[in-house]
Structure formats: structure tokens, C-alpha cells
């Protein structure tokens, strides 16, 4: 058969079949095959991210929160911990010297919310870091080694996932007296399983990629393959999932503190403040409302940031 000698087939395609692609479409497809799907197009990703409104809004909120946490002493003259000396300072309504009012001990709510952000941000950031590191190592080991190593690690993950998290946390906090490091470790240790699953899946697909076999053919050993070739290629996905997870961790910490088992007194923590303000909710609504709002804004900020990162960097979204 010599197709070139024949008249060009009509562009409508076969009856009932899909229409033949136009020239632009053909070029677009060719482009797709020529440009290798690169997993971490950092430069392109940042350009996309800057145009991504939700992502930028999230980044702005999160950045503002961190700045407020760092510069808290400059933003308020009040001490978040020491009690006010005068009884008339109790439950002052918002306005005047106390923009968000005072609590039952006469402490400035604005100052407490500001200083409380230090606790919430630190705890959530550190525990997510722990969970990402543990999860990445477990997932990478399972995905790379395969066989019984994979089976043991993943069944362990399944078992941990089956334990109700809040009860485990409550038990641990009840057994050991509560402290900030303990809360960080507990939150990290109970949230790494999802990362492990995610990373394992990524590694399984990367594992037989040509560049990994090529690295093996040049004499690279298992540890080198995992840390130089596999994990760096999963970083984007890991950062995205960590950002999205931070919101949940802040909420868990808040619920723990709300139950009175999170961060010990008198450290200002948002969850604790909501808890303490609930008795006076009808009379002095501002005591619980503002820390509650702070929790909501932070979680929204992180989620927007995570969504933006996902839309800009995750190959699934633009591949």
C-alpha cells in the first residue's frame, strides 16, 4: 500500500468514529511527546503558582501568621500570661486599649491570640515535619525493598491507621504528663501513615524508571538510589501533602487543648483559649470567638496554600 499516492482522506474521520484532529491539535500532541513529563518542573511551577490566586492568598495568610508570631512582642504591649491586677479588668468588651477584649483573668485576648499563634504554628510545623520524615523513610523502604519488608511495613501502617487517633492521644497524654514536646511527638507519630502510603506508591512507579536502572548500572547502591534518585523525585508530592495536612494537625492540637489535655497551662494555646472561654460564652463571647477565628483562618490559609501548590506543581494537574 502506498498511502502517499492516494488522495488525502477526508478530515471528518470514519463515520461514527472520533473526528480527525486538526493541525493545531496534532502539533499540540507532538509537543506532548517531545517534552518529557518532568516530575519537578520547579521553574514552571513557580510561574504557575504566582498566577494561582488561591495559592497566593494562602501563601499570604500563612506568611502573615508567621510574621505575627515572630513579631508578637512588637504588636502588643500586654503580657499573655500574667494576670491583670485589677478585678475590673476582667471580661472587658473589645475596644479601646484591648481591641479583642480581656478574659476572666484580665489578660488581653489579642495578646493571647498573637502569642498563641507561636504555639500552634510551632507544634503543627514540627509535627508535620516529623510525620513527613518518618512517613517518607517508611514508604521509601517499603517501596524500594518490596517483598516481605514491604508487607511488614504496610501491614504495620494499616494496623496503626486502625487505632482511633484521639483515644490514643488521650491515653498517652494521661499516662505521661502533657508537655509541648510530647504533643509534637504524639501528633507526628500518629500522622505519618498517610505519607508512608503516598511515598510508597510514588516509589513503586519511580523504581523501574530508566534513570533508576541507569544509576544501578553505574554501581549505585540501595541507599544512594533511595536518597539521591527516589526521594528527591517525590519531594513535590510530599510538600503538597504536608501543607494540606498541617490544617488537620492544628485542629487536632486544638481539640486536645480544648479537652484540657494538650499544651499545659499557662501557655496560651488557641484550643485551650476556646475551652476556657466557653463558660462565659454568653456574657463574654470574645474570649472564645477570636482564638476560634484564628484557628479557622490558619487552617484555611494552609489549605489554600496546599491547593495552590498542588495545582501548580503536581504533574497530575498539568501533565
Amino acid at each position: 500500500m502506498t498511502p502517499s499516492r492516494r488522495p488525502m482522506p477526508a478530515a471528518q474521520g470514519t463515520p461514527g468514529g472520533p473526528a480527525a484532529p486538526g493541525l493545531t491539535e496534532v502539533f499540540r500532541r507532538m509537543e506532548g511527546t517531545l517534552q518529557q513529563p518532568c516530575r519537578t518542573c520547579w521553574s514552571g511551577g513557580w510561574a504557575r503558582f504566582r498566577r494561582n490566586r488561591t495559592g497566593m492568598a494562602g501563601a499570604f495568610i500563612v506568611a502573615a501568621l508567621y510574621l505575627m508570631a515572630v513579631f508578637a512582642p512588637a504588636l502588643t504591649p500586654y503580657d499573655p500570661v500574667s494576670h491583670g491586677s485589677l478585678p475590673e479588668m476582667r471580661h472587658r468588651a473589645p475596644g479601646g486599649d484591648h481591641p479583642l477584649g480581656t478574659d476572666k483573668f484580665g489578660r488581653d485576648v489579642f495578646a493571647r491570640v498573637l502569642y498563641g499563634s507561636r504555639i500552634s504554628l510551632t507544634i503543627s510545623f514540627l509535627s508535620v515535619t516529623i510525620s513527613v520524615i518518618v512517613g517518607a523513610l517508611a514508604g521509601a523502604a517499603a517501596g524500594y525493598a518490596g517483598g516481605w519488608v514491604d508487607a511488614v511495613i504496610m501491614r504495620f501502617v494499616d494496623a496503626l491507621m486502625a487505632i482511633p487517633r484521639l483515644f490514643l492521644l488521650l491515653t498517652c497524654v494521661a499516662l505521661f504528663s502533657s508537655s509541648i514536646p510530647l504533643v509534637i511527638i504524639l501528633l507526628g507519630a500518629t500522622s505519618w501513615m498517610a505519607t508512608a502510603r503516598l511515598v510508597r506508591g510514588q516509589i513503586l512507579s519511580l523504581r523501574r524508571q530508566d534513570f533508576v536502572v541507569a544509576a544501578e548500572s553505574l554501581g549505585a547502591g540501595g541507599r544512594r538510589i533511595i536518597f539521591r534518585h527516589l526521594i528527591p523525585n517525590t519531594l513535590t508530592v510530599m510538600i503538597i501533602s504536608a501543607t494540606l495536612r498541617i490544617g488537620g494537625i492544628i485542629l487536632t492540637e486544638a481539640s486536645l487543648s480544648f479537652l484540657g489535655l494538650g499544651v499545659p497551662q499557662p501557655v496560651p494555646s488557641w484550643g485551650r483559649m476556646v475551652f476556657e472561654g466557653r463558660e462565659a460564652l454568653l456574657g463574654a463571647w470574645w474570649v472564645s470567638t477570636f482564638p476560634g477565628l484564628a484557628i479557622i483562618i490558619t487552617v484555611i490559609g494552609y489549605n489554600l496554600l496546599g491547593d495552590g501548590l498542588k495545582e501548580s506543581f503536581d504533574p497530575v494537574n498539568f501533565g
Binding site: Q36, C38, F211, V213, A214, S217, L218, G219
Partner: protein, 325 residues
């Protein structure tokens, strides 16, 4: 010629739900020092698996090397502990793959990947290995190597990336380079450049090359000796000149007939009808019998051994069955 590598009875199986498929079934040949051996055959006849088996890079599961030996310097590579085998890879034997587009890690610069390989095998500091890596880039004729060192793989063309792969593979001066279809994924003009570069580097570095390809033109250009594989076994082995003048296996004849020739006008290019058989459903007798135009009744019942019909030649065909090897 001094032998560099001696492959004997190499057998690699892949476990499938229907049983163990022997992708490579008792392959044996030698590679001399400084020699270029072409390994030819259609897709799916076991060429690449042979290469991966020599390097012991067959993924387990599902693949497993079940028998055979690959001897280098009096050591059987198949029995070497994994740690020592790792030292062989890259140092003594290197491999370059068909797909230069996906053979480089996308998150590191090309130069850094070469530098790492050098640092891995030779005790060298960061600056020294960087200079060596730039030297390697220059050796594979990448223009402006100092600048290109900091390029990411996606900033390079396919031909350029294949050169980077070659620089990586050659950075420790291996004695054997396995080139698995090094030019197949590239366009024709770049193919020629890569083959020419490969020839030049081979001469300069004095290494042996195992060239895996389905392109007989490339083989004619580069190889000293040719091993033809079909359905997991060696069917013919010959020095390059006598292979082209007098092929001794109907499969080789078929491969040659299907190369278009300049100045020849044919209605249709001759092809070998059918496909390489599924290793789980090999025909009885000779593996090529179902596609062979010269089939005799014996071919359908009995598998021919490797005959040696002439000096330095081997053929797995009853029609050439002079003296069994």
C-alpha cells in the same frame, strides 16, 4: 584475540501467571578485548534481557537468572556478592540505554550526575570530580561543557542527553560498554553522530563494545563480529564480513532481505511473516520453524543444536548441520 568476557549458558526466566517464561535460554558467546560484538534480532528476542542479565540488573521479581556463567578476569559475575558486583558496574562494565530522555534523573543537573558517578567509583574530591566531569562532557563533544554542566536534563535535546549518558557510562573507563540500542530513540542525523562518536571513543579508550541493535546498518558500520538472537537463543554467529556475504541461517537472511536497498525498486519490502513466538508457546522443534521459508520436516520435531559449518561461524539450522558443535 584475548577474551574479556565469556558468557556460557545464560538463562533468565520471568515468572508469569502461566509459568516461567525463558526470555534468554542458554545464550553463550565471547567478547574479546577491544572487540565490538553486535547483538542483533527483532524486538522481544531477548537481546536487552541478555544485556541486563550480564549486569545482573534483571528485576526480581518477576525476573531471575536461573543458570549460566559470565566470566571476567576469571571471576564468575553471576556468583559475585552484590557488593562486589556493584563495583563491577560502572567500573568494569557500563551500559547505555535506548531512552536518553528518561535515563537521567530529572531533579539534578547533568554535570552533577556525571560528577556523582565519578565520585562514587574513584576517591575524588568535589572540585576534582567536577573538573573530570567537565572533561567527560568535552570528550563526548558537548559544546561549551562548563555551561552545560549546570543544565538540567529537560534543557537538553535527546542527542545531547544520550551524550551525557555516554559521558556517565565512560567516566570510569570501563573495559566493556554495553550499548543497548543507543541510537534508536534519536532521529536519523543524530543517530549517525552518536554512532560515529561511539566508534571514536571505543578506539580512543580501547574498550570492548557489546552493541545491541535491530539495525543491521549500524552493525555493519561498527561491529567486528555479530551474534544473531532469536526467541531467546543464539541462532547465528559470524565475523561481520562473512555474515553479510554468506548468511547461514534463514532468520539472518530474512533480516537482511528486509533492509531497503538504494536503487532497487520493489513493490513491497520483503518481511519475515509473523512475530517472535511467545516464550511460553514456543513451536516444537526449531523455534524459527513457523516463520521459516526453508523449513524441512525435521525442523518441526527436533530443535537443531549450534552447528559450526565453517571456521569461526555458528548456525542453529539443520540445513547447515555439518558437524554439531
Amino acid at each position: 584475540m584475548e577474551k574479556l568476557l565469556e558468557i556460557r549458558g545464560l538463562t533468565t526466566e520471568f515468572v508469569t501467571s502461566e509459568g516461567a517464561a525463558k526470555a534468554v535460554d542458554g545464550v553463550g558467546f565471547d567478547i574479546g578485548a577491544g572487540e565490538t560484538v553486535g547483538l542483533v534480532g527483532e524486538s522481544g528476542c531477548g537481546k536487552s534481557v541478555t544485556a541486563l542479565s550480564i549486569m545482573r540488573l534483571v528485576q526480581y521479581p518477576p525476573g531471575r537468572i536461573t543458570a549460566g556463567s559470565v566470566t571476567m578476569d576469571g571471576r564468575d559475575l553471576m556468583k559475585l556478592p552484590e557488593k562486589q558486583m556493584r563495583r563491577v558496574r560502572g567500573n568494569d562494565i557500563s551500559i547505555i540505554f535506548q531512552e536518553p530522555l528518561t535515563s537521567l534523573n530529572p531533579v539534578f543537573t547533568c554535570g552533577e550526575q556525571i560528577r556523582e558517578t565519578i565520585a562514587l567509583h574513584q576517591k575524588m574530591g568535589r572540585r576534582e570530580s567536577r573538573l573530570k566531569a567537565i572533561e567527560m562532557l568535552r570528550l563526548v563533544r558537548i559544546p561549551d561543557p562548563e555551561k552545560r554542566y549546570d543544565n538540567y536534563p529537560h534543557q537538553m535535546s535527546g542527542g545531547m542527553r544520550q551524550r551525557v549518558m555516554m559521558a556517565m557510562a565512560l567516566s570510569c573507563q570501563p573495559r566493556l560498554l554495553i550499548a543497548d540500542e543507543p541510537s534508536t530513540a534519536l532521529d536519523v542525523s543524530v543517530q549517525a553522530q552518536i554512532i560515529e562518536l561511539l566508534l571514536d571513543l571505543k578506539e580512543r579508550m580501547g574498550m570492548s563494545v557489546l552493541l545491541i541493535t535491530h539495525d543491521l546498518a549500524v552493525v555493519a558500520q561498527m561491529a567486528d563480529r555479530v551474534v544473531v538472537m532469536y526467541a531467546g537463543v543464539v541462532v547465528e554467529q559470524a565475523p561481520i564480513d562473512s555474515l553479510f556475504s554468506d548468511p547461514m541461517h534463514p532468520y539472518t537472511e530474512g533480516l537482511m532481505a528486509s533492509i531497503p536497498k538504494l536503487g532497487e525498486h520493489l513493490e513491497r519490502l520483503p518481511v519475515i511473516p509473523g512475530n517472535v513466538p511467545d516464550p511460553l508457546r514456543l513451536p516444537a522443534g526449531c523455534r524459527f520453524s513457523d516463520r521459516c521459508p526453508k523449513r524441512i520436516p525435521r525442523c518441526l520435531v527436533e530443535e537443531p543444536p549450534l552447528f559450526s559449518p565453517a571456521e569461526g561461524r555458528l548456525s542453529r539450522c539443520w540445513l547447515r548441520g555439518g558437524i554439531a558443535k
